[in-house]
């Protein structure tokens, strides 16, 4: 009891007169225990209950004398018990308000009488008697409260050998038991307090929200949940995360650092991996655990802690208010809220005591375990190479800018976090985060412990023991994540990588065999790179032992699945060494195995190709492979017939073929022939990669012809019929698309009935396939026969249906295909009926310029071939204005396409009038100063068509469009000449324009054009010259008359 009272019970600060007990649940629990003990004492130990205390327990009571009944002598202000000691002194004496009690029996009776005010009385009693044990048993017994061994007690008994001291001893033991009981009980209370509660977290967040917003004075810029949905239990984490004790995730934007994504869990608050590209949260913990949100944020943001201390008075008021609403806040979390009070603030000392008290207990209870240390180490290690990973991410996510940005933000946030947590590593905070893994240990599978044991032998064994441990470890299911992570968590990765740095070939082989398997896990890959495994493995590539080379290359192939790893391989000269491995298979006559641990040459080359395949996903590595002379070696390996070899080789080529100089080299090395040959292979994966490589290479016209000449089109067309393997289908349709850019190939495809099959693939296929199928149809439909086939196979409807999609690449291709089909009036009728023109028109609003341009191009044949085209165009509300406004775009392709569309729209007088009203003339004129021949051509055409209305001719002159147009005649493009001559001819109807043209030297240029073989150009040029000449004649005439 002494220990419990001395240490556990939470007293208010001294200096407030008499120290009183603070009302905390812990104190309450302790008092209740004491009351229970005292109350039942009279029944449980009747003999000891009669024992008279050495000194009475004295305190001030609120109890009225009238409450005492039988067994007591009651007067107005005093109460005496009838029970008295040997000297006749009453054992209970009350003289309002002071009360003295001298036996446990009386204490029990008194508590029974006190009934409801028991708690208060007990508190007063404890407060009044700071050392009850000494009072009850005498001072000499009090000393033994520290070294409370039973021996001590026995010693006492033998010393004063009488019944009284025997009773004393019994009481002493009973009190000791109570003490232990109290300690145990309070421990339970404390451990209950530690987990955070959903409601407490919610309160915190709500409170912070109230102090967040723009401006310098707020504590945060913003704080919000990642999920709006709250489960009935108050958690916002998805159920499968709730199992792990996670409550919710919040995005916090402090003033001075990037947005933090924070997990609030029962164990505490910590930073997680942030939001990933697909809006998922990376739940992995990225830092130490803080006991609550405020502490965490104070650590992460200096501004927060600064503003927090400014705001603390208000914040604490709010906190107090929150506390004073017992109905709203469950009682249990009151201590939680208290603990959240900021240390060092002006709160009472009591709370501080409580915090320290809780802390010291936690430290005692939760010793950091080994695995916790491991993670810390690797974390710190990671900081050093962070810079580079940081850069890596940017490039990786380049295709989707927004996603990349988000990642950037997250990354830099993480970076800040790591720096912060490092700089604060000396502070006491470090001891605080409890190791939540330790608790989880109870559920760890048996493999974990077995692996831990094996790693111990790896660390402490000689080579024989190491080999045995490695072989045994290999027998675990290393494909299973539990085992993979277990090896890492018990520090096995470090040892395995360390073994690679030794001279022991057998140990290296064993270690690589394990690393090869576990590196299938993305986390392990990163860990291997963080631990510096790659440079060592790259060095092993030089080893004279082929099996070592193989294993190292295979492991590199697994690890180099992310950018930083690929960078590391290149940086340490790995690419050259890997390319050198390809050279192994040169001599077909295999020498006899020189060592037991050696592999075959072909195997070495295969592993090399595997590793290069992984590495070739980075641009710089592609370049490095080429420079290291990899292409001829790959070309040679491609001639073999082993599928195992061909797949990585073709895979590498296919990756690399995205680069222009690779495509040239592939053509030069006559690789296409072998790719085509392997299209006929039985292996689907090989077919897929070959098709993919052809898809990449067929950007080039010569390559497309090569594919046809080597008979590659037929297998491609045949493969179209097998639609189960979507990856392969996507690759095959891609190859067909690119090949069909050549007219001869299209003819072949028509022969092989590929067009019909393609139309059949327009429905129920994934987008990757659709993009290619539609692209191929777009190319095929440049020919009349194919347009007819597509219509007859019912291809128009699915094409038009695809116009409502959202995939940018698909929309570009679909619009192109629809446009190609629309060239046929019969097709156009179907498109019109399906409202395809309206869909195309609405795609002009698409945010992607490529889609806009492609849609505008497609509109041209539609307008040309639709019946009542003028009426149709007018029927789109706001459509014409939309088109005219697109002339403000800054994308040349969009501008050219819109000019082409305007050319077609302007053929209808009424529509021309409308677009003139929308200001088409000044907009077109503004574009006139351009060097882009495509735009020039269509702009000139649009201008010539727009001249047909009102005073547009004059207006073009006023907007200074004429002089730049004249310069178009100096272009090298005959199409530009024709369009320009026609435009100038139209403009020359206006006298002022004629003068401008003449001034800009148009006549001489036009005279050249008159000699052109192009009749339209001839005619327009001549017409223009005649207009200019006529004006000159008229002026002369006017002068002389």
């Amino acid at each position: 009891m002494g220990v419990a009272l001395g240490r556990l019970v939470q007293w208010t600060a001294p200096g407030h007169g008499t120290r009183v007990l603070e009302k905390t649940p812990l104190n309450e629990a302790i008092l209740k225990e004491i009351i229970m003990f005292a109350e039942s004492f009279i029944y449980k130990h009747p003999q000891e209950a009669k024992y008279v205390f050495v000194e009475p327990l004295e305190w001030k009571t609120d109890l009225n004398p009238s409450a005492f009944e039988s067994g007591y002598v009651v007067s107005a202000t005093t109460v005496k018990s009838e029970e008295s000691d040997e000297n006749g002194q009453p054992l209970l004496f009350l003289s309002v308000p002071q009360i003295k009690v001298r036996s446990f029996g009386q204490l029990s009776c008194f508590l029974l009488i006190a009934k409801d005010t028991k708690l208060k009385e007990a508190q007063a009693c404890i407060e009044g008697n700071r050392n009850p044990v000494a009072k009850i048993l005498g001072l000499d017994y009090n000393t033994m409260k520290e070294e409370s061994s039973i021996l001590n007690i026995l010693d006492k008994i033998t010393k004063d050998n009488d019944t009284e001291s025997e009773i004393k001893m019994k009481i002493a033991i009973l009190l000791k038991q109570l003490d232990v009981n109290l300690l145990n009980h309070s421990l339970k209370c404390i451990s209950l307090e530690i987990p955070l509660h959903p409601a407490a977290v919610k309160n915190d967040i709500e409170l912070l929200k109230r102090f967040s917003g723009k401006g310098e004075q707020t504590v945060l810029e913003s704080i919000k949940y990642t999920s709006d949905y709250e489960y009935p239990n108050g958690c916002r984490a998805p159920p499968w995360r709730q199992i792990l004790g996670e409550i919710c995730y919040v995005l916090v934007k402090p003033h001075d650092v990037e947005t933090l994504c924070i997990t609030c869990s029962e164990e505490g608050v910590f930073l997680n991996g942030g939001k990933t590209d697909d809006e998922e949260i990376n739940y992995e913990r990225k830092g130490v655990i803080y006991k609550d949100l405020v502490t965490c944020l104070k650590e992460k943001s200096a501004k927060f802690s600064e503003n927090m201390s400014k705001q603390k008075t208000r914040f604490n008021e709010e906190l107090q208010k929150e506390k004073n609403k017992p109905n709203e806040t469950p009682k249990k979390e009151a201590p939680g809220a208290l603990r959240k009070a900021i240390p060092g603030s002006d709160k009472t000392m009591l709370e501080k005591n409580q915090i320290n008290f809780g802390k010291s207990n936690m430290i005692k209870r939760l010793e950091p375990s080994l695995n916790w240390k491991t993670t810390i180490d690797s974390k710190e290690h990671r900081v050093s190479i962070h810079e580079e990973r940081h850069g890596g991410r940017v490039e990786k996510s380049a295709p989707s800018v927004s996603a990349g940005k988000a990642q950037l933000i997250r990354k830099s946030g993480e970076k800040v976090e790591e720096i912060v947590s490092e700089s604060s590593s000396e502070s006491e905070e470090d001891e605080e985060p409890p190791d939540h893994r330790q608790e989880a240990n109870a559920d760890l599978p048996s493999e974990y412990w077995q692996i831990q044991k094996l790693v111990k032998y790896l660390k402490g064994g000689n080579q024989t023991a190491t080999v045995i441990a490695l072989c045994s470890m290999k027998d675990f299911n290393l494909a299973q994540e539990t085992c993979q992570l277990a090896i890492r968590d018990v520090g096995g990765l470090e040892v395995l990588i360390n073994l690679l740095d030794t001279d022991e070939v057998k140990c290296k082989i064993g270690s690589l065999k394990i690393l090869k398997e576990i590196s299938h896990n993305p986390q392990i890959r990163r860990n291997i790179v963080d631990l510096g495994g790659l440079p060592i493995m790259v060095n092993i590539l030089d080893s004279p032992h082929k099996s070592l080379k193989c294993l190292a290359a295979e492991t590199i192939a697994n690890v180099a699945k992310f950018r930083r790893a690929r960078w590391a391989v290149r940086h340490h000269g790995g690419i050259t060494k890997l390319v050198a491995l390809l050279d192994c298979a040169q001599n077909s006559a295999e020498p006899a195995q020189s060592s037991l641990y050696d592999a075959r040459d072909v195997e070495v080359a295969r592993c090399g190709a595997l590793a290069l395949w992984s590495c070739s996903k980075s641009y710089a590595n592609k370049e490095a492979i080429r420079k290291a002379g990899g292409i001829p070696l790959l070309a040679r390996l491609l001639k073999t017939s082993h599928e195992n070899m061909l797949i990585p080789v073709v895979g590498t080529l296919q990756e690399c073929a995205s680069e222009e100089n690779y495509r040239a080299a592939i053509k030069a090395e006559r690789i296409i022939e072998n790719l085509v040959k392997n299209l006929n292979s039985e292996n689907e994966q090989l077919q897929e990669h070959c098709a993919m490589a052809i898809y990449q290479c067929a950007e080039d016209e010569e390559t497309r012809d090569l594919v046809r000449m080597h008979g590659g089109l037929k297998p491609l067309a045949t493969l179209l019929n097998n639609t189960d393997n979507k990856e392969r289908l996507a690759a095959v349709t891609g190859a067909i698309w690119k090949c069909s850019i050549s007219k001869e190939n299209v003819t072949k495809f028509r022969e092989y009935k590929a067009i019909e099959t393609l139309v059949g693939l327009l429905t129920d296929q994934p987008e990757e396939v659709l993009v290619n199928v539609v692209g191929a149809l777009g190319e095929c439909c440049q020919e009349y026969e194919n347009r007819v086939i597509v219509r007859k196979c019912g291809g128009i409807q699915p094409l038009v249906n695809l116009l409502v999609g959202i995939n940018q690449a698909l929309l570009v291709n679909v619009t192109k295909a629809v446009g190609a089909c629309a060239v046929e009036p019969e097709n156009m009728m179907i498109i019109d009926r399906l409202d395809g023109v309206r869909l195309l028109w609405s795609l002009l609003k698409n945010p992607h310029p490529d889609v806009k341009a492609s849609a505008a191009w497609a509109l041209c044949p539609c307008i040309q071939n639709a019946k009542d085209a003028g009426e149709m165009v007018r029927s789109f509300v706001g459509g014409l204005e939309l088109v005219v406004n697109l002339l403000k775009s800054d994308n040349k392709e969009v501008l050219a396409s819109v000019c082409a569309a305007i050319t077609n729209i302007a053929k209808d007088q009424e529509n021309l009038a409308v677009i003139t009203d929308h200001g088409v003339v000044p907009l077109l004129s503004k574009l006139a100063n351009t060097n882009n021949d495509k735009l020039r051509r269509h702009l000139a055409e649009a201008i010539s068509c727009c001249c047909m209305w009102g005073r547009n001719r004059v207006a073009f002159g006023e907007n200074k469009a004429v002089a730049p147009l004249v310069r178009y005649l100096k272009s090298n493009d005959a199409n530009v000449h024709r369009a320009t001559a026609q435009a100038l001819y139209q403009l020359s109807e206006d006298a002022d324009n004629c003068i401008t043209m003449h001034e800009n030297g148009a006549v001489k240029l036009l005279l050249h054009m008159v000699g052109s073989p192009d009749q339209d150009l001839q005619e327009a040029a001549a017409g223009c010259i005649s207009n200019i000449r006529r004006l000159a004649l008229a002026t002369e005439k006017a002068r002389y008359t």
């Binding site: 402490g460 023991a465 045995i468 441990a469 072989c471 045994s472 290999k474 037991l596």
Partner: protein, 194 residues
């Protein structure tokens, strides 16, 4: 030794040796007599390489350190158990030692590890061979506990018929699955790194 005798010896030994050509055998024979000659100088008459001289060669040339294993290797070479490695034993032994096929090596290694020659590697033999393979942790109560555990791990890995000891077929099967286990109980072949 005169040239004719040497020539004859070389021819006979080459005939019986799978992995060496005539030139190599010739060299090895010369080497053998040089080594024997050295010893003769020191100790007087001998009829071959004795245990100590052979162990010295193993240590110096092949970097072996484990006393017990070296003794066992000597036994492996000394086919007739006369305490000396004769010239034919020398050539034959080295042919296996340096160029042996997996099968030959398995047979040899098993003989090395089967300390009492009863055709089985028992737990006790394993314990004996592995007893120095772990770093002794002073904190551990039973310093042999780790070794015992290691023996159990090895048995679990290699004892296919679960009879608590390794027969040659157990051993063979395990080694064919994982070549690394060839020298499971100690290095008794030249290290591949050399």
């Amino acid at each position: 030794m005169n040239r004719k005798k040497l020539q004859k010896l070389t021819d006979t030994l080459t005939k019986n040796c799978k992995h060496f050509n005539k030139f190599e055998v010739n060299c090895l024979i010369r080497l053998y007599y040089n080594l024997v000659g050295d010893i003769t100088e020191r100790q007087g008459t001998v009829n071959g390489l004795d245990r100590n001289a052979f162990r010295n060669i193993l240590h110096v040339t092949f970097g072996m350190t484990d006393d017990m294993i070296m003794d066992r290797v000597f036994r492996g070479f000394d086919k007739d158990n006369d305490g000396n490695v004769s010239v034919s034993e020398w050539v034959y032994g080295l042919s296996l030692f340096l160029r042996g096929t997996l099968e030959e090596k398995m047979k040899y290694c098993f003989e090395v590890f089967d300390l009492n020659g009863d055709g089985f590697i028992s737990k006790e033999e394993m314990f004996h061979m592995l007893k120095n393979s772990l770093l002794k942790q002073p904190s551990e109560e039973d310093p042999d506990e780790g070794i015992k555990d290691l023996v159990e791990i090895t048995l679990k890995k290699m004892d296919n018929d679960h009879d608590g000891k390794l027969s040659f077929s157990d051993y063979e099967q395990a080694v064919r699955e994982e070549t690394l286990l060839l020298e499971a109980f100690g290095p008794c072949l030249p290290d591949p790194k050399k």
